[in-house]
């Protein structure tokens, strides 16, 4: 399949009966959709299931795809909805792995992060703290952080996929980072 074909052209080909065309769309976007699901959910297995369901849902609703939106925007919307559905289920079952515990302590995240060198256990602890803090963000802020950090998209790409202005992307990211900073300043970090 030629790389020069746009996603929209591939969808058109898939609708015309070309079964390989949708496979090409999957190959193009599975890494980014998986990254988005991983950043949103924080668990590998949940992310795999959400990515799988995203592409299956897109394939089943291919006839309902509107040409006025980009395929990438459409896939991201489906993926975010899949993640939100799973997060709601986790919350119902009290299984939220990204629950952020806000406790006051003198040994904050930033204080520990400044100490060098950090051991493996401390690094895991920091990662776990960051994961919980990102998971506690509001959905629209979390989505921008994950798209920037995990999908490694530019502001322009995020703007096009989310169909929001470029300045809105930047302001959301700035707000997200400020909220993360505020949460992590109060987070205790066990230094081994």
């Amino acid at each position: 399949m030629s790389q020069t074909r746009t996603d929209e052209k591939l969808v058109e080909m898939a609708l015309a009966g070309n079964n390989d065309a949708f496979g090409e769309i999957v190959r193009r976007w599975e890494r980014k959709i998986f990254a988005l699901c991983y950043g949103m959910l924080g668990r590998e297995e949940d992310a795999r299931d959400a990515a799988q369901e995203t592409f299956v849902s897109a394939f089943r609703n291919l006839n309902g795809f509107r040409g006025d939106a980009k395929v990438s925007s459409w896939l991201h919307r489906i993926a975010v909805n899949q993640c939100l559905t799973r997060l709601r289920r986790q919350k119902t079952r009290n299984e939220s792995p990204l629950e952020f515990e806000n406790e006051d302590d003198s040994s904050s995240f930033f204080a520990a992060a400044g100490q060098l060198p950090s051991g493996e256990t401390e690094q895991k602890e920091r990662i776990e703290t960051v994961r919980k803090a990102v998971g506690a963000l509001p959905t629209e802020l979390k989505q921008v952080v994950v798209m920037k950090e995990f999908e490694e998209m530019t502001f322009q790409e995020i703007s096009e996929i989310l169909e929001i202005p470029l300045s809105t992307v930047k302001s959301r990211l700035y707000t997200a980072l400020k909220q993360l900073k505020k949460r992590l300043e109060k987070t205790p970090l066990e230094v081994v």
Partner: protein
């Protein structure tokens, strides 16, 4: 508006530029302008340093936990592997038949099966009724004939109630020369004779039948002599009351 809320969090006008510089997406002019601002704004300098540490922490998370993961094996379900073409072209007969019997077209199969069942039931219904028989079958159907031998039907005798006019059968007199009817009339008369007639209830009248005198039922009760036994009873060896009395009192 959510966007305005986000913008309200900005402490100074350099928030968006700070993010652009942080992610190396600021233009040269923006970068120079922001560096000049940093020399005057302590808050932005501290924020830039803190955001840098956050980026490193998130990057560590990504590098250590996400990057080593393999890609998910996306498997599309079998029933959706075949996408029906939106624009259908010309198909051969074989392709059309194959398309008809694919599971995706199961609705048409069900409709066709239901229609065929309806047709079969309709044919059964038509075949089971005389209403729709063809004309030649109607012509061959047996019709009543004048010369044909009539079947003898057993007609129960009608016993009219008292003071009601007697039912008469005039057909017999009209066809007096008809032998089977006369025969049946005689049979009916014999049956009539054998049936006892109660007094006061007139029997069915038949003028053509010979008059017969019906003996009146005897009302007097016979007093039977029990001592006289029929001859046939002489050979009866069963014990009798008289014999028993004789055995008990032989001397008398």
């Amino acid at each position: 508006m959510q966007n305005n809320n986000h913008k309200s969090d900005l402490n100074c006008a350099f928030g968006e530029t700070l993010v652009a510089v942080l992610y190396n997406e600021a233009t040269e002019a923006e970068t120079e302008n922001f560096e000049r601002h940093l020399s005057r704004c302590r808050e932005c300098s501290e924020e830039l340093a803190a955001f840098g540490m956050l980026r490193n922490a998130v990057s560590d998370w990504r590098e250590n936990e996400f990057v080593p993961l393999s890609l998910p094996n996306i498997v599309l379900p079998d029933e959706t592997q075949k996408i029906e073409p939106a624009v259908t072209g010309k198909h051969s007969l074989l392709q059309s038949l194959r398309a008809f019997f694919t599971p995706a077209n199961f609705g048409w199969q069900m409709a066709a099966a239901g229609f065929a069942g309806f047709i079969i039931l309709g044919l059964f219904f038509i075949g089971s009724t005389d209403l729709f028989k063809p004309d030649n079958e109607i012509a061959r159907a047996p019709s009543p004939s004048v010369n044909a031998t009539p079947e003898i039907a057993v007609v129960p005798e009608v016993v009219p109630a008292r003071n009601q006019p007697t039912v008469t059968q005039n057909n017999s007199s009209a066809n007096a020369s008809n032998q089977p009817e006369e025969k049946s009339r005689k049979v009916a008369a014999r049956i009539n004779d054998k049936i006892p007639k109660h007094s006061g209830i007139p029997a069915a009248r038949n003028d053509n039948l010979p008059k017969r005198r019906i003996p009146a039922p005897k009302t007097e009760r016979k007093v039977e002599d029990l001592s006289i036994l029929p001859v046939a009873e002489a050979d009866d060896n069963s014990p009798r009351l008289t014999n028993l009395l004789e055995e008990i009192e032989p001397s008398e």
